[in-house]
Amino acid sequence: MSLDLTYRNVSKVFGAGGKNPVQALREVSFTIMPGELFCLLGPSGCGKTTLLRSTAGLETITGGQILYGGKDITSIPPFRRNIGMVFQSFALYPHMNIFENVAYGLRVRKAPEEEVKRKVREVMELVGLTEELKRNPSPSGLSGGQQQRVAIARALVYDPDILLLDEPLANLDAKLRRYMRAEIRRIQKATNITTIFVTHDQEEAMAVGDRLAVMRRGIVEQIGTSDELYNKPNSAFVANFIGKMNFFSARLSGRGPEGALVEFVMRNITMSIPAGRDYLPASLDPGAPVLVGVRPEQLVVSSAETPDSVPGKVNIIQHLGQFVRYEVSVDPALSAQTFEIDMPGLVHGMAEGDRVFVTVKPGKASVYAPDQGRSE
């Protein structure tokens, strides 16, 4: 039975004392529940892989503690941590057949031959490679998806306490990726091992993880379920990283217990944001620049002007099946980005290049403090 995994103020500096020290992790603290499938999500360089490798012991953290089941494992060398890990490249041994690849961890532990055979057979059954095990080819004789399964089997065969998956799907093609992520979830739930899944793909993270942590610049920005992160992102960064968020530049004109009052830049539109969607820091003074964030499906594009609409121009119309995406540019002072607006169907009589008007569905906007690093 797996236990919980806790990070307490974990920091990591690469090249400490050198000319260009890089702070990869800054005081990271959170807990992963026993048996949980936990996703670390973030853009490249955010520290997610460093945190994973630190958990494995492949990197030595420069500050803080990592605890497993309440016990400090920070200074245990990696080969004594009893962790299973699946690498992005799979890292299968080309000089061994798949049986020996999977058996490797058992051989290291000097398990008796009988046990090796039994455990390899069991785990190959779990990952769905019973037939391949009979032929027992070398890894190069398998397809990408099968190699992936061997890599998972190899990590699971010695009943690790923790399973680490480092971008495990990055080397597979798109269709297989969607299939394997469901497989990984099935296998993880069957073994119930506390698991960390690292990815930069938000769709993958949302589909796989029980909970997700969004990281940026060595900091955990937000932790929650997919639903929480999508519907209640607490920063402009998370909002735009988990799905798409359109931002209007605005100014804070007032705040109260019921929410915030904001005024769009260059437009005479005032909007009240309910307290549940107000993510501004408490210290922010009226008049401060803020961002009003709206999901693509919460905006409406129309040919008719209304008092609270913003004028723009349709650049591209894409029919994407369940909905139609309108890319609309507005006054750059109001938003430097092109808006993405998802309508349930084609808007009658609207063509690319047309002048249009954008409105926010009532009560669907959130407000955020401007984010310096949003362009990352």
Binding site: H95, R109, Y158, D159
Partner: protein
């Protein structure tokens, strides 16, 4: 099982401080010390020693008070020194120039013209470099020497035109022999560049309306310049460091390596030899720097992921010209090997045909040379084994562990690659012969050490190359699975870099068997090797015996290389590219 594992380690980790330090894996640091110590004692110290000796008067003991420039003054006063220096330059530059002229077209033809027998041409092309160069020189004497058969007949043809082919002895012979020995570097490297260039780039040029010649001039050729530059550098370094060819056919024309030999062998003047060695190294270093400066700014990525077939010339005339050209060059460069084989079965060869068929040359070998055969095998095997271990460890450490100073280690290991063999010998002699604290002059040990110092780059490069292709996550996966550093090294790293170790070792062994330039300054009557014996026989005019021994040597080297190439693909030809 799993819980116990973790709990046990946590208990061990209860105490901090000393326990924590002891738990750190110290093995890599200990292993790191061995190669470091070897390099310090047998490379740095001898080189430093040589450097200081270079500034001392001949005959002086190692003594800081006696520093001066007398060793170098000879380059201003002695006409022999001046001529040697000039000759070295002329030889280096001419051999490089001719090798480019001969090798680049050949590389282009084999890569870009539709021809039969290309794999064979590539295999034959590599032979001159892996065969002992002084044997080539010696066989050209048979053909083009004073009584040379071929020379006699060529001159009959040339006489009406008022020109005569000079005797092979002297500058003409050195340049000719070295070109025939070293052009394969240019041929093979430029062939590699011409055939790996991205065909799409040329297709794009063609679609934009460029003519074939224009495409060659503006796209193809600029992209292969770095490779050709590297080959030119390799040829230059090898030719100004070559001892065997000038020693056999230089006649009264000395070059720096033979001058070093002359100082040591004739006068036992290590200080004077050191001065010459320093000058030799400065020239090499300067050229190396020049090449880095000129070529490294023109490095392009010529390998692309998409594999598009390169367009080949199919015009019959071009095909005929290319085939004839390649066969002619191959024939001339392989003539020495053929001549030696023929010669070894005859008593003498003075007319058009050799005379007096005999097997006596071979039958004499076991009786006369058993000691030398044994020495050659013994020295080469031991040195190869030790070099393989040393080179692999250094490669593993610099590539994987990346300790501080890995860059210096890399440079130090590669340094002997550009040092002429005679220079390495002088350095070792000046540090370890006579009354030094380690005195191993004339022993097997000094030869083995010299071999190791000179050949470690071969194994090192070869292993480092396989290591860079070995994804570190393969080793990490093993660590994560619970394996200790040593277990991982044994079960994962070594099996996967074994091909690199083997091809580096084979290259080392086959070149050590024919080693002349280092051994000639270090051998004693006890430690004489086969190449030394051949060299001696040639000097004594016993061509039959020398031929038989050479054939034996050629055969051994050829068999080794052939089977390696067969089992490892192009392991060896890529091994030769180092530099």
């Amino acid at each position: 099982m799993k819980r116990q594992n973790l709990d046990a380690s946590i208990d061990i980790d209860g105490g901090k401080g000393l326990k924590k330090f002891l738990q750190k894996d110290l093995t890599p640091y200990l292993v790191f010390l061995i190669p470091m110590a070897f390099l310090c004692i047998f490379l740095f110290w001898p080189l430093v020693n040589t450097f200081f000796r270079a500034f001392m008067k001949s005959g002086n003991k190692f003594n800081l008070g006696a520093l001066g420039f007398s060793g170098f003054e000879k380059f201003l006063t002695s006409s022999l020194y001046q001529r040697s220096l000039k000759n070295s330059f002329i030889v280096g530059i001419s051999v490089t120039g001719w090798s480019l002229l001969i090798g680049v077209p050949m590389g282009y033809f084999v890569a870009r013209v539709k021809m039969a027998g290309k794999p064979l041409m590539l295999s034959l092309g590599i032979l001159p470099v892996i065969m002992p160069s002084f044997i080539g020189a010696f066989s050209w004497i048979i053909l083009l020497g004073r009584q040379g058969v071929a020379r006699h007949y060529i001159n009959l043809v040339l006489e009406p035109l008022g020109i005569t082919l000079p005797s092979i002895y002297g500058m003409f012979g050195m340049i000719f022999c070295m070109t025939m020995t070293y052009y394969p570097f240019v041929f093979l490297l430029s062939h590699g560049a011409f055939s790996s260039a991205n065909a799409l780039l040329e297709d794009a040029g063609m679609l934009m309306g460029a003519s074939r010649w224009r495409i060659f001039k503006t796209i193809t050729f600029p992209l292969v310049i770095p490779s050709i530059g590297a080959a030119a550098l390799l040829v230059f370094i090898r030719s100004i460091g070559n001892f065997g060819i000038p020693a056999v056919i230089g006649g009264d024309q000395y070059v720096l390596p033979t001058l070093i030999y002359f100082r040591v062998n004739g006068f036992w003047d290590l200080n004077g030899a050191s001065s010459i060695a320093v000058v030799n190294v400065i020239i090499t270093g300067f050229v190396l720097w020049l090449q880095k400066y000129v070529v490294s700014r023109r490095e392009y990525e010529t390998i692309s992921a998409s594999r598009v077939e390169i367009r080949q010339h199919e015009h019959p005339l071009i095909r005929v010209i290319a085939t004839v050209y390649c066969l002619l060059v191959l024939f001339i460069s392989l003539t020495p090997q053929i001549v030696i084989i023929v010669m070894s079965f005859f008593e003498k060869w003075q007319g058009l045909f050799p005379e007096g068929f005999t097997l006596a040359n071979y039958l004499r070998i076991p009786r006369v040379t058993s000691r030398e055969l044994w020495n050659s095998l013994y020295l080469s095997s031991i040195a190869t084994l030790l070099t393989a271990i040393l080179g692999s460890i250094i490669a593993y450490i610099t590539e994987r562990r990346r300790p501080k100073g890995a860059g210096i280690l890399d440079m130090a290991v590669m340094a002997p690659f550009i040092l002429p063999g005679t220079v390495v010998s002088v350095a070792l002699l000046s540090a370890f012969s006579g009354k030094n604290w380690i005195s191993i002059g004339g022993t097997y040990t000094i030869i083995i050490i010299a071999y190791m110092v000179r050949r470690t780059p071969y194994v090192y490069r070869s292993v480092a190359a396989s290591l860079t292709q070995l994804n570190p996550s393969l080793e990490e996966a093993s660590t994560i699975a619970g394996a200790h550093w040593i277990y991982t090294f044994r079960r994962v790293s070594v099996p996967l870099i074994l091909p690199g170790i083997i091809s580096g070792s084979i290259l080392t062994f086959s070149t050590l068997l024919q080693e002349l330039s280092t051994t000639i300054l270090l051998y004693s009557s006890q430690t004489r090797t086969v190449p030394i014996l051949i060299y001696g026989s040639v000097a004594d005019g016993q061509l039959g015996e020398a031929s038989a021994l050479s054939v034996l040597l050629l055969l051994v080297v050829f068999v080794i290389v052939y089977f390696t190439n067969k089992s490892q693909g192009k392991g060896l030809s890529s091994g030769l590219k180092m530099g």
